[in-house]
């Protein structure tokens, strides 16, 4: 076995570096507390409960990271937690990845603003999980090693395919990271009175510590703890909302319609997206994007076999479905409790303090009091931390495992180098995420997530799906078609209303829709199929035999990557 304890030699340095980071962080956080108090006399008073609860989470998760660092020896530990995660744990971790700040804050904020149309996000988010189950999860586990790219590369000419799916991964990861960072900054700005940039840096630094030292083991457990806290918090809050309303959905919706500026229309479609093409495009991005999100697909390699991968999806679907039903209640609850209360609105501008993404946070104060506000805020901040960790690990694996090991080193890389490079990539991605988080301060977080989903739906999903299901797929078709998909998505985003008009300041968008997925995914699949059919290269017969072998492996798990033996 080539991948045995390559990090033993690095361990001492590791620990001292880790300790140093912990000290710097604690001194930094505690030292910063008086300045929270200083800032407290302006718009946002300090909340000691929130800060201490968040610090508690940080202490526990750093402890876990320390424990995980000792267990992270091989690249299998670093990327796949030694394949020792159970289906239940992984289901919770997957649900945790999906229940991001964008879900909790963004979607409840969208319901707060647009009412019924927030339900599109809720339903799109949940509808993708059965698709992942029926078509992807088990096959992916049987075919891949650490990244979904492994499963794509198994039958095709690996280098170009890996470069393309690694690019798809990185673009989706970076867009998603921006959304999370913006959420973190807004949240802490509002709650702690800390500057936006300070929150972004805190998240970035903590996330870099979790991932560099604890790899997938730490990332998984941070996610599991946070998912548990989040499900608990959302449950309590939804119950508190319903207690005030005598558990009557009728009065929830009635009061929401009386308090919302849209009136009764808040319970009908049209509040957020009014043209049909945008609705369909958004729905497509949500359902197929989830099925192509690299940090979620990566989690299927942390379980021992396909059976556990299947259990993971079942549990994840259950948790996510339950959570989204709660978010739906919280969204309408925030209309009832927040929309009519002038305390939550800025005196000068008349806008909701902190923007619409803060609706659920205000709700926790209004419906459950200050202590619970502290708890929910701490959980929301923890959510962001956990999700950015998973995203960054996934981005780092694309750089180190897909590009460095397999493309540059032809699979012959030295284990120590691989793990070291993953750590460097983590730090670089972390710094990039912090800078972009500052640059994109004014964007709606749920919307940024939709952009990430569009890339995942237009590049990652088509390649992964067709490589597993279509015998006729060729390397040229996958790479050229996938590239067209990626360029189309990015191009349409740049030319669309969000960047062309809002960011670049042009008068009118060249591409009229905010959500490109319907067009870019169609372009991608169409190009992949047509270019594969046109490509009658020499590899055709070999490729057909390879497809047979791949099918056997996909169905039976013969030759699949097993659990760690150490």
């Amino acid at each position: 076995m080539p991948n045995r304890d390559p990090l033993v030699a690095m361990k001492p340095t590791n620990y001292s570096l880790f300790d140093l980071h912990m000290k710097v962080l604690f001194v930094g956080l505690i030292g910063a507390m008086p300045s929270f108090a200083w800032a407290g006399d302006s718009a946002a008073p300090i909340n000691v409960t929130a800060i201490s609860m968040f610090l508690g989470f940080v202490v526990i998760t750093l402890g876990i990271t320390y424990w995980a660092a000792r267990r992270t020896k091989t690249s299998q530990d670093f990327y796949a937690a030694g394949r020792s995660v159970t289906g239940f744990q992984n289901g919770l971790a997957i649900a945790g990845d999906f229940m991001s700040a964008a879900s909790l804050l963004g979607v409840s904020g969208l319901i707060f603003v647009g009412g019924f149309d927030g339900l599109i996000y809720v339903i799109g988010g949940i509808a993708s999980w059965p698709i992942v189950m029926f078509l992807l999860a088990e096959r992916l586990r049987n075919l891949g090693k650490y990244t979904f790219t492994d499963a794509v590369a198994i039958r095709l000419d690996a280098n170009p395919v890996r470069l393309l799916s690694a690019s798809g991964t990185l673009v989706a990861v970076v867009l998603y990271l921006i959304a999370q960072m913006v959420g973190a900054g807004k949240l802490v700005e509002l709650l702690f009175g800390l500057p936006y940039e300070g929150a972004v840096v805190t998240v970035g630094v903590l996330m870099i510590i979790y991932v560099t030292f604890g790899g997938m083991i730490a990332t998984t457990w941070v996610q599991i703890i946070k998912a548990t806290l989040l499900l608990f918090g959302a449950t309590v809050l939804a119950i508190m909302v319903m207690v005030h309303l005598d558990f009557s959905l009728e009065s929830l919706f009635r009061q929401a319609s009386e308090l919302h500026t849209n009136g009764i229309a808040v319970l009908a479609p049209g509040g957020l997206v009014s043209d049909p093409i945008s609705v369909i495009s958004l729905a497509t991005a949500l359902v197929f994007g989830t099925a192509g999100l690299p940090h979620i697909l990566m989690r299927f390699f942390t379980v021992p076999d396909a059976r556990q991968a299947r259990r993971s999806v079942l549990y994840a679907t259950g948790f996510i479905g339950y959570f989204y039903i709660l978010v739906f209640i919280l969204g309408f609850g925030s209309i009832v409790f927040v929309a009519g209360d002038p305390n939550f609105f800025d005196d000068v501008t008349g806008k909701l303090i902190g923007g619409s993404n803060m609706a659920a946070i205000h709700l926790s104060k209004a419906a459950a009091g200050d202590v619970f506000l502290g708890f929910i805020s701490a959980v929301a901040f923890a959510t962001i931390l956990a999700v950015v960790s998973g995203l960054t690990l996934s981005g780092a694996s694309a750089v180190s495992h897909d590009i460095y090991v397999n493309v540059l080193c032809k699979g012959q890389a030295n284990e120590t180098d691989v793990v070291r490079l993953s750590r460097i990539a983590t730090v670089v991605l972390g710094v990039l995420a912090m800078s972009l988080g500052v640059a994109f301060e004014e964007q709606n977080v749920a919307f940024m997530v939709v952009l990430a989903f569009s890339v995942a739906a237009s590049v990652n999903f088509p390649i992964l799906f067709l490589s597993m299901y279509w015998r006729g797929l060729t390397t040229f078709g996958a790479v050229a078609g996938g590239t067209i998909g990626l360029l189309t998505t990015v191009g349409l985003i740049v030319l669309g209303p969000t960047i062309w008009v809002d960011t670049l300041g042009n008068a009118a968008p060249i591409f009229p829709y905010k959500y490109p997925a319907l067009f870019s995914m169609t372009a991608s699949i169409f190009s992949i199929i047509v270019l594969s059919l046109l490509d009658n290269g020499t590899g055709a017969a070999k490729s057909a035999k390879a497809f047979d072998d791949q099918l056997v492996r996909a169905h039976t798990g013969i030759g699949a990557e097993g659990a760690a033996t150490h």
């Binding site: 339903i123 799109g124 009635r254 479609p269 369909i280 479905g321 047979d548 056997v552």
Partner: protein, 118 residues
């Protein structure tokens, strides 16, 4: 390493020439695609109504309520996703898993002889 790969290739060929494997593959495919079809059809049906006939969803569920038809309909798509996922797991546990095991074991016996289970 090379031996292991040859062994895997041998197993793979055995499985691929087993009619039971292809029967299982087809049965499984048909089931997965049926469930996928049901889910996508319901999901896009809902989305198409939101996109083109939103007034259908804006109607009150019954006389005297503010709750619109769209709300329970949307929530039932969530419920459908959960139910279909559950159905899949039950079928996979009770049918696909034992069938797969039998096929793999048959291939191992054929490839390695009866007393060389690996």
């Amino acid at each position: 390493m090379v031996d292991e790969q040859n062994h895997l290739a041998l197993l793979s060929d055995h499985i691929n020439s087993n009619r039971a494997f292809h029967a299982l593959r087809k049965r499984r495919s048909r089931f997965s695609w049926t469930l996928t079809g049901i889910l996508l059809a319901s999901y896009y049906a809902f989305i198409m109504i939101v996109a083109y006939k939103p007034e259908l969803l804006a109607a009150p569920l019954y006389r005297g309520t503010v709750i619109t038809v769209g709300i329970p309909l949307g929530l039932s798509v969530i419920l459908l996703a959960l139910v279909l996922t559950g159905i899949y797991v039950v079928r996979a546990n009770n049918d696909f898993d034992p069938a797969t095991r039998a096929i793999v074991e048959a291939a191992k016996r054929a490839a390695c002889g009866p007393d060389h289970e690996s």
